[in-house]
């Protein structure tokens, strides 16, 4: 383009009488034609109409224009329209610029003379910018029609299933040795609903039957490069020390000398160093926990199928995908020792533990016993670890606990009709259709006590007393309890911290991942091509997680369904031989699109055109002017500013 003579066409729209009514378009055109490099200026009743666009296209050929300026309405309405028109005439669409003389002028100023003067100024300024415009090419990225799902909980599984069903190849990476996450440990969803492990199994069953999905358990994502359309990801698969020859005979478990508390039972049961997480766990293979294994080799000796190899090493796999779904979920809030008597007595447990005890497939076959006596007085204390009830707790509401608590209370009511069940609570937040649970609980003689100041749980020997100020009667009441259930909330997933920096996402203060827009883009991450499913963005119910899983899958599908994605060329670009490598720009970018690279021995800034969203804040900061925003380069914006003066 350099050197070529600049030939600008200016087109002033009447917009019926909307502009022509207050702006003297004839005079404006006369004025425009006097501006430097303007070879033709015209006015027409509706520039945006078919004939209007035709007019421009013909002129481009007739006067071989290489810049086009339309003075009409707001670019938000018709910039695209005219860009396309210009493009159809064979001119680069970014050699077009628009002056807003309707919303910003004719509609705002009734005074004909002043409106006309202003229209002239606006056009003069835009023409000045147009003179400096450069052709830009949209960035075309070939889409790898594969997806990576990080996290094998219900949200991740649902997302993987949806994408696989839609015909895309899916890689599913789960940190733990088994799929299912916390959902698999929930014995009943909303009191009557489905069993968690069955829900998971039904999804997993279909998944593993599909040719286009690859599942990695006991694995994690260690690095990720690139952006939407093409991410290059490295996966580390940690050894399980047991291979598929395992026939689940369980001999190894008998001989294993190491016994530890079982995280899959939230500590209410124990497991060996070699173990099967739970009956329906997928994959159906025993696994050795290297943290606690003493390498004594007893299991190897007894294994009939020679499935155990204590020297198995971790391995790495590199994959390429077009989109990434982050679904690493949450972890239950773990009360401090001594917090509301937790850890001081077997009779003080968390809600997650209670659910395990109420599971007929759980360690107690679902029979609720303290020692061997059945509890008569059961006390639930809500909002443990939520609503800032403890220093370590978040100030947020964990959303699900109220419904889960009432479901559990109702289960106990079924099992122990004669028991006394107290719910010590703040607000009962059974929102939406869950309100049903609240009604049921009230009908079935579950007693609600409202607290403002945190209750006290007094543990003396095997006696437990819960003291709480019932604000309704304004007095302290004391309940001798056989079982205290701390209704613990949902906190940041332990694994999230590790992946945060690998997958470019950031967390809010409460420890959950920030969405691109909390209201209108709830499953999009800030960077293109990365989506968020389930409780990774904040506490959610199983059903909500399923919905979010599908939502994330849908967003991913919008990318994967295309052969290419196009990135706007209005992005930042570094003028390499002017960059001194001061790195000021790097800290500016909200999308981490700027990194550094070595060029003939110099470390300089590099903008990833796929990640850059084109805000231009790096260009404003760049001390040497090496960083420029295409379409808003210094020379372009300053030309417009200089044209402000007549």
């Amino acid at each position: 383009m350099s050197g070529e003579e600049i030939r600008i066409g200016v087109y002033v729209c009447h917009c019926g009488t909307n502009i022509a009514g207050t702006v003297d378009v004839e005079e404006v055109v006369r004025y425009a034609s006097t501006l430097p490099n303007v070879v033709i200026a015209r006015n027409y009743v509706f520039m945006c109409s078919e004939p209007g666009q035709q007019l421009i296209k013909e002129d481009i050929k007739k006067y071989n224009l290489n810049r086009v300026v339309v003075a009409a309405c707001s670019p938000s309405l018709h910039e695209l329209t005219f860009r396309n028109a210009v493009k159809e005439a064979g001119l680069n669409p970014y050699l077009f610029e628009m002056a807003n003389i309707r919303e910003h002028c004719s509609w705002a100023h009734p005074d004909r003379r002043k409106a006309t003067e202003k229209a002239k100024d606006l056009i003069r300024m835009v023409v000045a910018k147009a003179r400096e415009l450069e052709p830009l090419e949209e960035i075309k990225i070939d889409v790898t029609k594969k997806a990576l799902v990080i996290g094998g909980g219900v949200a991740g599984l649902r997302a993987a299933l949806d994408l696989a069903r839609s015909g895309f190849t899916v890689y599913l990476v789960e940190k733990r040795p088994t799929l299912g996450g916390h959902t698999a440990r929930i014995p009943f969803i909303r009191y009557l609903g489905v069993r968690g492990d069955e829900l998971i199994s039904s999804i997993v069953k279909e998944l593993v039957s599909m040719p286009n999905i690859k599942i990695y358990t006991n694995a994690d994502v260690v690095s990720m490069e690139g952006g939407v359309g093409s991410f290059r990801v490295r996966i580390r698969v940690r050894p399980k020390y047991v291979d598929s020859k395992c026939n689940l005979c369980g001999e190894c478990v008998k001989v294993c000398p190491v016994e530890v508390s079982n995280e899959y039972e939230y500590g209410v049961g124990t497991r060996k160093a070699i173990y099967l997480p739970y009956q329906t766990a997928y994959p159906q293979i025993y696994v050795i926990d290297p943290e606690v294994c003493t390498r004594c080799g007893e299991c190897v000796k007894v294994c009939p199928t020679k499935a155990i190899d204590l020297d198995e090493k971790e391995r790495y796999e590199d994959i390429e995908v077009g989109t990434v779904i982050l679904a690493t979920g949450y972890d239950p809030y773990e009360p401090e020792k001594g917090e509301l008597g937790y850890g001081l007595s077997k009779k003080v447990i968390t809600l997650f533990q209670l659910e395990r005890l109420l599971d007929e497939r759980g360690p107690t076959k679902g029979v609720l016993r303290i020692g061997d006596t059945e509890p008569r007085v059961i006390v639930f204390i809500s909002c443990v670890g939520s609503m800032g009830t403890s220093p370590k707790a978040g100030s947020y509401c964990s959303r699900m606990c109220c419904s889960t608590m009432l479901s559990a209370a109702l289960k106990i009511r079924d099992q122990l009709p004669g028991s006394y069940i107290y719910v010590i609570h703040k607000d009962i937040r059974t929102y939406g259709y869950d309100e049903e649970l609240y009604w049921k609980a009230l009908e079935r003689d579950i007693r609600f006590v409202r607290y403002e100041e945190l209750p006290e749980v007094k543990v003396s020997g095997d006696k437990i007393e819960v003291v709480v100020k019932d604000i309704t009667i304004g007095e302290y009441i004391s309940v001798p309890a056989d079982l205290v259930v701390l209704v613990n909330g949902m906190a940041q997933g332990k694994y999230l911290r590790e992946v945060l920096n690998v997958v470019r996402v950031s967390c809010g203060d409460e420890g959950f991942v920030k969405e691109a827009h909390v209201k209108l883009r709830p499953v999009d991450a800030a960077s293109e091509g990365i989506y968020l499913a389930g409780s990774v963005t904040g506490p959610k119910s199983v059903i909500e997680s399923i919905i979010h899983g599908s939502a994330a899958a849908a967003r991913a599908a919008t990318v994967l369904s295309k052969d290419h994605v196009f990135a706007e060329p209005i992005i930042a670009k570094v003028d390499e031989d002017l960059c001194s490598g001061c790195l000021v720009c790097v800290g500016m970018c909200p999308y981490n699109a700027i990194s550094t690279k070595e060029t003939d021995g110099r470390r300089i800034a590099f903008v990833n055109p796929v990640l850059c969203m084109g805000c231009g804040t790096c260009a404003a900061a760049c001390p040497s002017g090496a960083m420029q925003q295409q379409g808003f380069k210094d020379k372009q914006v300053f030309a417009q500013i200089r044209a402000f003066a007549r």
Binding site: L578, S580, V586, M588, A621, S624, G625
Partner: protein, 329 residues
Amino acid sequence: MSKKVRVALYWMASCGGCEEAQVDAITDELSVIDYLDIVFWPVAMDFKKEDVEKLPDQSIDVALINGGVRLSEHVEMAKLLRRKSKIVIAYGSCSSWGGIPGLANLYQKEEILSRVYSEVPTVAEEGRRPQRKYVTEEGVELELPEFLPMLLPLNAVIEVDYYIPGCPPSPETTLKALKTLLSGETPPRGSVLGASSRALCEECPLNKTKPDKVLVKEIKRVYNAKIDPEKCLLIQGIPCLGPVTRGGCEALCPRVAMPCIGCYGPLDRHIDYGGKALSFIASIIDARSEDEIKKIIDTGIPDPAGLVYKFTLPASRFRMNLRKWGGSR
């Protein structure tokens, strides 16, 4: 290089630093001086204005002029040398963009005079001002040049061919520049000679100590900051102008744990050096609330103009303070 190059050196509003640098440069081991035929150098040898006036026009090959334009005399001499010289070079920050004396443009002429001749405690006779004309007992009439309403860079009064930046320009810079010219090369008019086309960070040994993100929670001032000489000053919260200042000095200051104060001046893309410097410094402040930001700025940058315009105010888009015409109305 057969015949010697005829050189004129002149100083205007200058501190003498440039002269030192010139002496260092032309008396270096390569003894550039052998190639030079100095026709005018008031600071070192006894020349008079008439000596220059006598010379035929265009007879001087290169005129090196340092210091800013503050007196009517400077304008006369600048014009004279322009007439007599093929190439005129603005030597040093002052003549290139005004330099430190240029900060005087933050004040109006009258403010300066009254401060110097009335307000300062060391004034001998209250309110006594220098007279432009004065006749001695011997009846000799002396005339002082006029103190101009503002300080100007050389290019505001005459055409300047090249610039040699620095306060003062380092001997290396000066030599590089002179050698370029002696070699017969003719860079495009207006080029900066002897320095880099990129910012200082590139030459700074501390640059590699930068983390990826250059963001600071406070801005420190040199006089009371504890500075780690091994670490980039910027990330320590010292407003070092390295990123926005033309390289070429080999980062003399940062090497000794002093921030760059910008004496090599603007880069080619700058519209207003101060504005750009201000933009990047503000950008690295890592604070979100208005009060927080204000606090950081007020404690760290009490005098923004002094920081970002230390060498370039008279060449900036404003050139000087507008109070006289603005606020007073």
